[in-house]
């Protein structure tokens, strides 16, 4: 299954991309598996997505926690705490 992952603001800049696609061979994955896959890219990826960093996760444009299940075709987004208004 394929999961599209979007990055915004500082994460977009540090990762030098605004999106990528992760392919899982098995089904039954969670947001935490997406994070694990990204951390395996090491360097800035492991650094910015470290558990002690504060970032937010959205699945299909709703903010969620790491234990939420992701399905084929889902749009996951990772971004810093919001600062609008």
């Amino acid at each position: 299954m394929k999961i599209k992952v979007l990055f915004f603001a500082k994460l977009r800049e540090v990762f030098e991309t605004n999106q990528l696609v992760i392919t899982f061979t098995e089904s039954d994955n969670k947001v935490s598996d997406v994070l694990t896959a990204l951390r395996h890219k090491e360097g800035v990826w492991a650094e910015e997505l470290n558990e002690n960093k504060s970032f937010r996760i959205a699945v299909n444009q709703e903010m969620v926690a790491e234990d939420v299940v992701v399905n084929d075709g889902d749009e996951v987004a990772l971004f810093p705490p919001v600062t609008g208004g």
């Binding site: 979007l6 915004f8 603001a9 500082k10 504060s54 959205a58 444009q61 709703e62 903010m63 987004a77 971004f79 810093p80 705490p81 919001v82 600062t83 609008g84 208004g85």
Partner: protein, 154 residues
């Protein structure tokens, strides 16, 4: 349409008129305008760039408006948030709420701002004298949003 994300500026009087013009039951209009300051965290700010998450932004703002309407006896609400590059003194955000009596519109307006500040996917990048930097989220904003989570004070 109670939510707009746009690069253009807005006119508060005009938006107020549109929001209430068809409703002579409106007795109260509370509003808030956020403005770009020329100083933040001790540094001079020469410009601000606002990035957002198209799609999710509109959706989260609409959810916030729906929640305000379910919590308070208000007639209508409008949120306009600008994106792109803004300068000091520029308007950033407008929140408008109409109701019969003032208590409801004041509360709903403050609630909308507090929730927007912690839930709507906008990010500010400042151009300062010491270079560009992403603005950090403020703890005071989380605290402000949290008070609406407790038991309703109605």
């Amino acid at each position: 349409m109670s939510v707009r994300v746009q690069t253009e500026d807005f006119d508060v009087s005009q938006e107020m008129l549109v929001l209430r013009q068809k409703n002579p039951k409106v007795g109260a209009v509370a509003s808030f305008v956020g403005v770009v300051r020329d100083l933040n965290d001790g540094d001079e700010v020469s410009a601000l760039t606002l990035e957002h998450y198209p799609g999710m932004t509109e959706r989260s703002l609409e959810e916030i408006v729906s929640e305000a309407k379910s919590r308070w006896n208000i007639y209508d609400a409008l949120i306009i948030h600008r994106v792109g590059t803004l300068l000091p003194l520029d308007q950033i955000v407008l929140v408008l709420v109409t109701s019969a009596h003032r208590g409801e519109s004041f509360k709903a307006c403050e609630f909308l701002m507090d929730y927007l500040k912690t839930r709507a996917p906008f990010w500010k990048k400042e151009q300062t004298s010491s270079g560009e930097r992403w603005v950090d989220a403020r703890t005071t904003d989380s605290v402000a949003a949290m008070r609406w989570e407790t038991t309703d004070d109605e």
